[in-house]
Amino acid sequence: MDVVLEARQLAKAYGVGTDALQVLGGISFAVSRGEFVSIVGPSGCGKTTLLFALAGLQKASTGTVTFNGRSVTAPPRGVAVVFQDYSRSLFPWKSNRDNVAFGMVRVEGLSSAQKRDKAQEMLEAVGLQGFEDKYPWQLSGGMQQRVAIARGLASQSELLLLDEPLAAVDAQTRADMQDLLLDLAVRFQQTCLLVTHDVEEAVYMADRVVVLTRRPTVVDHEVPINLGKRRDQITTREDPRFLAARHDVMMSIRSSRTAAPATAA
């Protein structure tokens, strides 16, 4: 299998000496091309720290991240992050089209007219035709997150790192957005890594779920989700294989939670 992203013995500690807080304790896993992998873990296990290390936004203390075989020391080209906090990730002084076009700010060989067309195309792909000239703050939360996703795709990404992208939208919108993300991942040949605390979402979206332990966090185990690429909000969630996977993931998270000492998250 063609490995796109690989973490090897990734560890991260904040502070030094006796005050040091060991957040990541040596995480190893790999994501293959075209795969949709979810990462779940108990609260406070350092999911965001892990994602920032994978994205090259933050250095790990030890261990390595490779993207397409090359070591990640800074944000590599071809990786896009969709942040949870869409309202603070979009630029309120830019129209939605300009926000999406800004995803191509460092893409060479495209005229500004071509970037504009591409932005338009991406906005249509996320279902926002007619909102190009509006501003992000004129849209609902779910729509704002669509703009951020369109911007990520426009940046010519091949790997989407999704940092709890749907945690702040309402339940019905979340279901629509899950299906939209799955559809976009296939259409634009994106490899996806979803970090979430929502076990149902992790299982519903993924081909494989990586379950993390509590701090110092390592990979507890991986759960393959053999539900095929086509998912359905009603039938998939009733499928015995879905329920079994959900049960498995929830059990391990519960056991690491009950084993957790009483510390502030």
């Binding site: 944000p75 080209r77 630029f91 800004f102 700010v105």
Partner: protein, 262 residues
Amino acid sequence: MGSFRLLEILAGFRAIISFLIIIVTWQSIASLGLVPEKYFPSILAIAAGFRDMMMSGELVSAELRTISRALIGVASASMLGIGLAVLGDLFPSFRRGFAPIAALVQPIPPAALVPMAVFMLGLGPKLYAFIVILVTVWPPYFNGVAALASVSDVQIRTGQMLGLSRWQILRQIKLPAAMPEIFAGIRYASSISLIAVVVAEMLAGHDGLGFLLIRKAFAIRIPEVYALMFVCAVNGLIMNTIVNGLRWKFAGWQSRMTGQAA
């Protein structure tokens, strides 16, 4: 319902209405003789004083000098303030080193700077440039530093993920994000710049509104003194309109976002 409509129409003209109220109150106090007319001239007398100064040409030349000094001063001070704030953002050690200097110089009133500036720079245009810049650079600088430091980390990470350098992030993300707050500083600076210019002209000038005001006051030309005060007030409006126009261009998104008028 009818009275509600009337209120709405009145609200549309509120600036004119408050101005009329001031005029009417002023005129009534003057004509009732509550204060000696010599020191509190009627609107008509003030208008006549205004007309005389217009006819002689002294008002226009004084006004042009004063407003251009204030405008050039506040424009340079804003550029300088933004430049220093950017430096402070790129080099935190510069910001820390500059902080005590700022804390020391900022509270000096414009009038207190005039004697030193006269010794150093004489009575020419350098005097005004020095005084205006020294008193108006602070609001854009401090607002700039605070606003650049408080740009959302998610926006900055977005820029990093898109492959932008530190400088590009500053220019394309942090500065636009900081513009509304910087303009709040410029707006404040523009009103102090008018004060600073008039004070400097009063103390050390040989032209401009401040100089004319002092001359008319010593000549006990009371209506002219009042007319010049009105001109100073109008200058404030002119300055505010210019700054608001620029703010709308560079930071108008914030007003549109929060739905408030400029």
